[in-house]
Structure formats: C-alpha cells, structure tokens
Symmetry: C2
Subunit: 300 residues, 2 copies
Amino acid sequence: MSLFTGLSAFPLTPLAYDQIDEAAFIGLMQRLTTAGVDSITVLGSTGSYAYLTAGERDRIAHLAVEHAGTTPVFVGIGALRTSQILANIDSAQRAGASGLLLAPMTYQPLTEDDVFALFRTVTQHADLPIIVYDNPGTTHFTFNTELYARISALPGIASLKIPGVPAEPVKAREHIAAIRAIIPNHVTIGVSGDAFAATGLRAGGDAWYSVIGGTLPHSALAITRAIQQHRDGDALQESQRLAPLWDLFTAFGGSLRVTAAIAEYLGLVPYQSLPLPIQGLSTSQRARVAEVVEALELAK
Amino acid sequence: MSLFTGLSAFPLTPLAYDQIDEAAFIGLMQRLTTAGVDSITVLGSTGSYAYLTAGERDRIAHLAVEHAGTTPVFVGIGALRTSQILANIDSAQRAGASGLLLAPMTYQPLTEDDVFALFRTVTQHADLPIIVYDNPGTTHFTFNTELYARISALPGIASLKIPGVPAEPVKAREHIAAIRAIIPNHVTIGVSGDAFAATGLRAGGDAWYSVIGGTLPHSALAITRAIQQHRDGDALQESQRLAPLWDLFTAFGGSLRVTAAIAEYLGLVPYQSLPLPIQGLSTSQRARVAEVVEALELAK
C-alpha cells in the first residue's frame, strides 16, 4: 500500500521568542507517534515552512526523523525560488525523510507552464516521492484538473493534496472521481480542509492531510479509522461532534491560528508560538477556543 | 522638499544562471543616475526582493549605494517574517540607504492588526524613513484608507506607495484627495501602475514609483517632468504614445515579465534574467515585445 494513505498529521513548528522551541516540537512528534498516525508531515503550512530559514527547516527535518520512530516523515520543501526548493530537497533527503510536499508559493503570480516546469525540475532533482500541494488560500495559485493530470504524470509524483471537497456527499464523490479518472493509479488523492475530511475520505480520498491531526491526533484518528473500517456513520458523527471546532476555523481566520491557540491552551507549545507578524488570536478569541476545547473534551 | 517625490525608478535585479549579474545591475544603476531620476528603489517587486536571500539583498543594497552617486537609494525590506524584515533594515541601513520600502508579504493571510503591529515594530526599529508599499496583486493584503491613516501616523512613515489610480481623471483626483485628507502632511503619496502614472501625478500624486523608470528612465522622466512643469498635455501625450507598452503589461501577465523582456532585448540584462520558477515571456511574446520596443523607439 502506498505510504501516502490514511492519516498524515501536520504538526506546528512552535516558536518561542522567534526561535524554534525544539523541546515543544519533539513533544509534538512524540504525541503523534504514540497516537499512531500513519505519517507525519512537517513543514506544511501548519508547520509555518514559508516563514523559516533554510537552517531552521533543515533542523526541523532532522528532529522529525530522529523522533518519529518508524512513522514515515514527509517534509515540506516549498519556497519562492526554484533553487531554494532544490536546496530544501537535498536537506530533507539527507535528514531521512520518506516523502516531500511542494506547494507552488507565489509572490509574482505564476502561469500554469511555470508551475508545470517547476514540478518537472523538482521531480528530476529529487530521489523521494512528491506530494503535489494545492493550497490556493496561501499560494494564490489555482490548479485545474488538467494541470493535476500533467503534473501527476511526471515520474516521482506520489500524491495530490487537494483543498476541501464539496460538503455535499454526491458532489464530493464526483469531484474526487473526476480527479481520479485523469491521474495515474499509483498517485493517491489526499484531502485537506479538516471540516470536510470525513466527507472527503468517504468520497474516495485515500489520505487526510490533517491540520488537527498534528495537534489532536486522537480525534483525527477516530474519523480516519472509522472510514477505513467502513463505519462511515461513526466518522460523520465524530466530525459533526467537532462542528464547534470547525466553526472556530471559519470565524477566527483559518485553521492555523486556532490550532496554535489550542496547542498553546493545552500547554503543548509556548504562548504566541506563531511567527510574527502573525499575532495569533486575541484574548477573547482564546477564551472562546478554551471553551470549545473543554466542551468537546479535546484535552483528552 | 521630501525625498519621496518625483520619479523613483525601480530597477530589475538581473540573474544569470540563478546568480546575481552584478555587472548588469551596475549598468542599470549607471543608466538611471545618468538619466537623472530623482531616486532609485532597489529590491522592489521589480527587483525581485521576495526571491532573494538575505545575503543577496545585502549585496544589492551595497552595490546600489556605491553606484548611485548622489541619487538617493531606497531599499525594499519586505519578508514573510518580522525578524527577517528587521535584519533587512539593519543591512540596508549599513549599506547607506536613504529610505526603506515595506510591503506586507503574506503566506497565511494577515489581519489589519497584524499589519499595523508590523509597521509599528518596523518604525520603532528603523532609523530611516519608510515607504508603505500597498501591492495587493503580490501580497494579497488589501489596505483601506483607515489603515493608511493609522500606519501613516506612526513616526518614521514618509510615503505611501499606492496601486494604480482610477483611469478617469476626476475619480483619480477624488481618490488621492481622500487619502491626502486622512494622512499627515509630511507623508507623500506615490502612485504605481505605470499605465496610469500620468493620470495619478496629475491627480495630485507626489511621486511615481515606476517599473519602467528602472529600465526606460527617459520615457518615465518625460512624463514626470512634464507634470512637474505643468505641461499636463505633454505628459498625457507621452503616456498615450506608450499605450502599446501598457497593453503588453495587461496581455502578458503584468509589468515584471514584460520589463525583463525589454531589458533582455535591449541587452541591458542577460536572457532569462528573472528568478525561476518565473520563466519569463515565450518566444512569440518576446517577438511582440521587440516590435513594440522598435515601433515606440524605446531603445533610444
């Protein structure tokens, strides 16, 4: 079975006074391996890869592999410039990663041909399998299914991380089927957008690239294992139970700030663990996050 | 008079095989000082600041000041992380810059409070005056006039670089007057969007932060000086004459790729001078650029 299936947990990269808090990061890694996630993706958007220096990223990749035990580690390699991406690949490969995650970051808007050529260059350079990371909310680059097909046909592409699927189950199934129909069989489809993950897995997603999986692995595993064991009702029930959490993602500017606030509330990472200029949630927003954590018993 | 008036020319940072082409960059600097631009802003969006390493940016700042003679040099300091911005400030100040340019780059979307706090931190750290750089096409952060006012009130803010004004002269004048009404008198308003620069200067803009000014300074100076000498008709006529150039900006994905292609065609910078993954224009697009350069006699 492909490495790129099941629950891939995306841990935060906690900072303390603008330096990586290594002890906190190692703690997150141990939390994930103990919980039994299928893989760990460090330096995803949740891991603040775009904000870190090449040296910090190299350090995180090494720490992750060192503390992941037998759990496969995937490493985000994205950067604005191709040569920086290639250097990140070398670093992740030296660290002992099992896969690489690449989103087409932009400052100047990129064309489809720019992005295709980027993935071609990267697949030619890398020895490890690559996850194509489609995250228009941060990259402002919009893939289409034809571009998915062109890139997925490149040797070395192993998985496609797609944004949230439609909430309506039939539409979600059609969406994933449409992608599945035009990409090679060995390329897995992984869903993102935690609120719709149960729907996406049920609709045929092979993997869940999960923000909450990196901080609340038990909740994410409950949903993932239920789908894998054909207990779809249990998965949907757990996802529905977490609705107040998904509502916070919508109300408070996305999953990153809320997840960091949860990890900070639970004492997993230091207060204000995100890289400035991202200030994180306000005091009143944090109070609401604490209420939801307690009401949903997320601390367990 | 404020340093932040008149024509500020934004040169490219030419690369050759992913390394800065220092001779080509020095050539651009000499071209600008000889032409007599009012200031030079290096490491703007046109100068690919977002793609360069801290070391490359330090080198460009030093080369710029060294070769600018008496022309003031402003340096772009933007980065995704606040601590990196502060390091860029230190570097630009050591190099001898006369001003700093800061756009709120984003990967995760920023809130208004994030951006205000960033500018507050930066003004507290910097000794040099700062240009607030509003470029939603690359940063995906949208300022509003109230935020202009909050930030412009910070000590050390010297100028506001706004995106293109409305094409209609009365609307352009109203737009600039609305901003002028709520920012301190000492803060100048500089227009961008070369196609609308004549309109923007006529409508009360104090400065033109100019992409073509960095590569075709004579054309940009013709427009700027005409407005300053109250020959509005001449300015509008020159801007109108350049319409085929502005049309290329629209048709070929923005000013950067077209300006790089012009500089490459003129032999000012090496072929494919932009940082990958930006591939630059196609062969057929370059042929069209060459036609326009010849027809408009831009090589002069």
